[in-house]
């Protein structure tokens, strides 16, 4: 098993943190993991993305020429990365923010009204965790339990009091997946 997930949106939407959380949870499960942030051309206030690789075997390339999953938080990212998604791959869309039609028919598209769900819990700031929750459920890559453990480890001290909201957001994301 080797899965490459790309998470992309505006700076400030928590895409880098979401990726770190996923990678950390993978590590806790004893998997090989790797997290690569975008850096470079992106300007302040611009877009941000990261690639997480989770695998049973050694990870060679840390990059994702053809990611297997996409978690998309804004329109520019959708336009830029959707064409690179592997055929048969998973495309999660924060449908609260991205309204566009998806042209590809060879991928599995899941719109998630993440902002709405997040606002119900506490604030739109939690949309990233809603998305992650949905992704966990769909992909079955990592258990919620591992992600919850990872959250405890990497949440910075000054956001520790938000832990329960974070958990609720993850669960709410999982809950929307049928079955």
């Amino acid at each position: 098993m080797l899965e490459r997930i790309m998470i992309a949106g505006f700076g400030g939407q928590g895409v880098l943190f979401t990726g770190q959380l996923l990678a950390y949870a993978g590590m806790l499960e004893g998997k090989h993991v790797c997290w690569v942030p975008s850096y470079g051309a992106e300007m302040r206030g611009g877009t941000a993305n990261c690639v997480v690789t989770v695998a049973d075997e050694e990870i060679c390339s840390p990059l994702a020429e053809e990611p297997g999953s996409l978690l998309i938080f804004n329109l520019p990212s959708l336009l830029k990365f959707a064409p690179r998604l592997k055929p048969g791959g998973i495309l999660l869309l924060n449908s609260s923010l991205v309204k566009s039609e998806i042209k590809r028919s060879d991928v599995r598209v899941y719109p998630v009204p993440a902002n709405q769900l997040a606002e119900k819990i506490k604030s739109a700031q939690l949309a990233n965790l809603v998305m992650l929750g949905t992704y966990l459920k769909i992909s079955g890559l990592i258990t919620l339990d591992s992600v919850n453990k990872a959250l405890e480890k990497i949440l910075p001290a000054h956001r520790r009091h938000l832990l329960s909201y974070n958990r609720k957001a993850l669960e709410s994301g999982m809950a929307i997946v049928g079955g």
Partner: protein, 74 residues
């Protein structure tokens, strides 16, 4: 002689810093509820009638997103 005046805000240039609103003597600028395509809530003039065209909002705008329009003096 009161001159009709107003401002134009370029929503796509605006970064929602709220400096214009903070310094407007009439306090008639606020962030719009929706976002522009960069994810910012751009400034909006919510009470144009009270605008004096003083230009302070344009003066303080770091992104040259505001143009003041006044009727020319005769």
């Amino acid at each position: 002689m009161a001159k009709p005046a107003t401002i134009e805000i370029d929503r796509e240039r605006c970064k929602g810093c709220e400096l214009c609103g903070a310094f407007c003597p009439k306090k008639i600028i606020r962030p719009a509820p929706d976002t522009n395509s960069f994810g910012y809530h751009p400034a909006e003039l919510f009470d144009p009638a009270r605008c004096t065209g003083c230009g302070i909002c344009a003066l303080v705008c770091p992104d040259t997103a505001i143009v003041v329009r006044k009727e020319e003096a005769a």
